[in-house]
Symmetry: C2
Subunit: 371 residues, 2 copies
């Protein structure tokens, strides 16, 4: 079969012998395609089989296998690709998805509609990282949140996103919140003299996400926040393909896929390639020195995956978050460089001089960029 | 605050001292609600705070904490509930969601539209387990799959479901497959003299699931199969609320949430309570003696969670699957009892006498029920 008709997935297998590793690789090959004993597969369906290309011991007890799958088993359905990638085998112990070849992403996924360049252009912000903060807490009214958005924007913040816990609560219903905050940010831009994005959270029931996306746009939002592991992963792709607003993706509910040592999906593949390919213009991930568990090396690799050339797919803005403090920004800039959105939430609210002054200070730290 | 205005979530925390456990419990309380330093939360939003009700060491290094949350932080949004349940803290090590009080499920979720009783009534099948098989493999044409459906139904199968890997591939496009298989099953019912359900797989992009659900109904399907961890969990609730067709839920892509020792969601809570509350009339889970890793005790507990009284929410049909053989059915009946759908895929295709005769044998084993 022509190489263009197939794609390769790389899995890591935990096994104490070559024989066990071979059995596991063979199970992946079967379980993710025909899902029945090979000798019962009719000749007519033989083209559905996956093929083991290689199996090598990487370190004691850890094996790497490359398995080739036919595109015909997916059709053009991204959700079915996710099923082939890690559907049934998610229920088996000791299998981790390491990588997928770029050909698959290039053929099946459209990537970000705007990407780093698109966001920079709309903000007219070049040669420096971008600033971002979170509107919170849930429980405040729409007008209280709008007042906070006004202050952040007066302070010159590049992006103000909703806390991912702001949904459609009675305290600040979605439409009212988006309209009020977008209006407040437009007013503040007159004061600051610069563009500020407002990204409301559109995470909700899978069938309502697209509707909420368009509501956000109609109500004046400049982008949206979404938690794809709550809405179904392909939801990012659906809204990104509308090419109407940039999409910021948030990792809530996704930790179980990436926190395990020998199971789940490799962090780089999951946030770095998959979320980028799905179309996230900005990808929030737990920062190394914050309150979550990622190492600096992991964060560096994630940054690279989001910004390296990737088969014509636009770059996603790496957006480290979680426990970043105003006074740790210079250190973070050294770690991540200019192609980064720094998201500071809680610590800006802690600054004694208030959030407008804190935003100005944050922005000032970034303005020079890194030379 | 009134007890009816709040609900309780039980978390397990891995910590080596009471002090560390207290810090973790406090992080859950903050991270899942206001997500900012408590002293920066305005008085107006104080009602959003969660409250730690108890913290006890269950066994060395494992702590159980009960945390009370206000309903106001959810509104009526199930997806936002999932975010409160395990959103950001999914990214922290050593936290497992153990349970949620029934009040939450009763207030927020509608449960199965048909349940065990509804399925039994439509099939006129009482006092015995139900039989189920899977149409496969992907790669066959719609008419080849329909021929297989015809044979299974002639053999008297109660439920024929699509393999969860049948999506909308060019080999057997969704609409063509559903129409052909439904028609074949209707013809076979004339031969068998009994009702057989056909459940096509409607798993696809989150925004398209509802449309595909109605297409399935319009094309003559008797129910649907869905992989909720691929479509977004609330998708089950959305389609179940249509009260048009029963819903069978499949665990593809969900393993990462439930395979970890001290992380993720307790298996019973996840499949047993959550999927039931979401509205799955039948819940497929990995069988104890099959090719997946669940123990008999886990399977027994799951069965109980799906069928025990649950605040007025209908029962889901426990549907163990994976590696069940025709000759292990009597043993399985002893483990699970009559309130069970036994799903045999691969092994029926292995029977030398063909799938129609194998279905008859399967059905005959179940017909007497368990006395």
């Amino acid at each position: 079969m022509n190489r263009e008709d197939r794609f390769t997935i790389t899995y890591q297998i935990s096994a104490d012998s070559k024989e066990s590793a071979e059995i596991m690789a063979d199970r992946i090959r079967i379980e993710q395609t025909v899902e029945m004993p090979p000798d019962t597969v009719p000749v007519k369906a033989a083209s559905s089989f996956a093929e083991i290309l290689s199996l090598q011991e990487k370190k004691p007890g850890q094996w790497i296998t490359q398995i080739s799958f036919p595109f015909s088993i997916i059709g053009d359905d991204i959700t079915q690709f996710l099923n082939v990638l890690y559907g049934n085998i998610s229920l088996l112990e000791g299998i981790m998805v390491q990588d997928v070849d770029d050909l698959l992403f290039r053929k099946l996924f459209s990537g970000p509609a705007f990407g780093i360049e698109g966001l920079r252009k709309s903000l007219n912000a070049y040669g420096r990282p971008l600033s971002c903060t979170a509107l919170k807490p849930a429980g405040l009214s729409a007008s209280d949140l709008a007042e906070r958005a006004y202050q952040f924007a007066c302070g010159g913040m590049d992006i103000i996103k909703d806390d991912h816990g702001l949904a459609d609560q009675p305290s600040a219903p979605f439409k009212q919140r988006v309209a009020s905050c977008a209006e407040a940010v437009r007013k503040a831009e007159q004061v600051s003299g610069k563009k500020t994005f407002y990204f409301p959270n559109i995470t909700t029931s899978p069938d309502k996400v697209l509707e909420r996306f368009h509501q956000a746009a109609d109500l004046g939002a400049d982008g949206v926040l979404i938690c794809p592991q709550l809405t179904g992963l392909e939801a990012i792709h659906t809204i990104a393909r509308e090419k109407r607003l940039p999409v910021m993706a948030h990792p809530a509910f996704s930790g179980s896929f990436i926190l395990q040592q020998h199971q789940g999906l490799a962090i780089r593949l999951y946030y770095g390639k998959l979320w980028r390919a799905l179309g996230a213009d900005s990808i929030i991930f737990p920062n190394a020195v914050g309150r979550f568990a990622f190492t600096k090396e992991t964060c560096r690799q994630l940054h690279k995956c989001m910004t390296d050339p990737f088969g014509g797919i636009r770059k996603s803005f790496p957006t480290p978050a979680g426990g970043i403090h105003l006074d740790s920004v210079p250190e973070m800039q050294e770690l991540y460089g200019n192609e980064t959105i720094f998201l500071i939430g809680g610590n800006l609210y802690q600054q004694k001089e208030g959030i407008e002054a804190a935003s100005k200070e944050f922005q000032k730290t970034l303005d020079g960029g890194i030379q």
